[in-house]
């Protein structure tokens, strides 16, 4: 079963049931240094990735620090 969600502004069909599962598919494990996630406009702390289900229409932002001034 797949759901369409927005990942970093791009609509994608995903099969992962939780935020943690989705991130694991992308090679990001909880506790990865420098990675942060927002779900539907609010920060989702990494300790809650595993327990947070994904629903159709969710918007997820996955960010990290890069070079900046």
């Amino acid at each position: 079963m797949s759901a369409t969600i927005q990942i970093n502004g791009r609509a994608e069909a995903v099969t992962a049931a939780t935020v943690a599962a989705l991130l694991a598919e992308r090679g990001i494990v909880p506790g990865a240094r420098g990675v942060a996630v927002a779900l539907n406009g609010a920060v989702l702390p990494s300790r809650r990735w595993a327990e947070t289900p994904l629903s159709p229409g969710d918007a997820i932002e996955i960010v990290r620090p890069i070079q900046g001034g």
Binding site: G9, G34, R64, P65, G68, G69
Partner: protein, 261 residues
Amino acid sequence: MQDDTLTIAGRTFRSRLFLGTAGYPNQQVMLDSLEASGTELATVAIRRISLDGYSESLVDVIADVLGGRVGLLPNTAGCLTAREAVLTAQLAREALGTDWVKLEVIGDRELLYPDVEELLRATEELVADGFTVLPYCNDDPVTCRKLADLGAAAVMPLGAFIGSGLGIRNPHAIETICARSPVPVVLDAGIGTASDAALAMELGCSAVLLNTAVSKARDPVRMAAAMRDAVSAGRSARLAGRMPKRAFAEPSSPQLGLIGT
């Protein structure tokens, strides 16, 4: 000058130079520049991760090479509203484990000039949320005062447009802000070369934040060292107290015993 430290929100710095990490020819030059600058605080941006490939983390690179000597200061560059800036700051806190933020809320994408209304709103929200807020702001004593009153830990007025290298366009405004500010003043943006950084310190700034002047210099590492020296020299000159300016000449050699008199 060993004891001349800077304290912002309880954190003490020996270096009064904060350095950006963007736009260097390559990563090694960036790391060497950070080292040469002597900085203890480097700015970073927060951006969407590339989902096409998981590359090396900037945080890891800086931590591995500079081993805790350089702290990271996340910015909210590119944010146009208080809402975007607040979420970006909260993501930065989650990502980096710091509640410090260089708050930028931009009102014009071409000029990169601050949007004062949104900046004040974001400052208020972030202070209430426990952040140590360092806002990038106009060289306007009233705005700086309002930001300090809202709880900003420092104010960071611009010397000139971001990335312009035009130097300090209104030194009198910066000097006035420094004279009146209840919080440290960090000159942010517009620095083009070492003399600009020295001037900022002579005008009374507590520190200087710059990026492009180093990253786009022909030899960034050498310029980073020049900035270190300029900030230090400007600070010393400020503490030493400059001589009064005069409209006419005043001989420095004694006027007695001139030959032929």
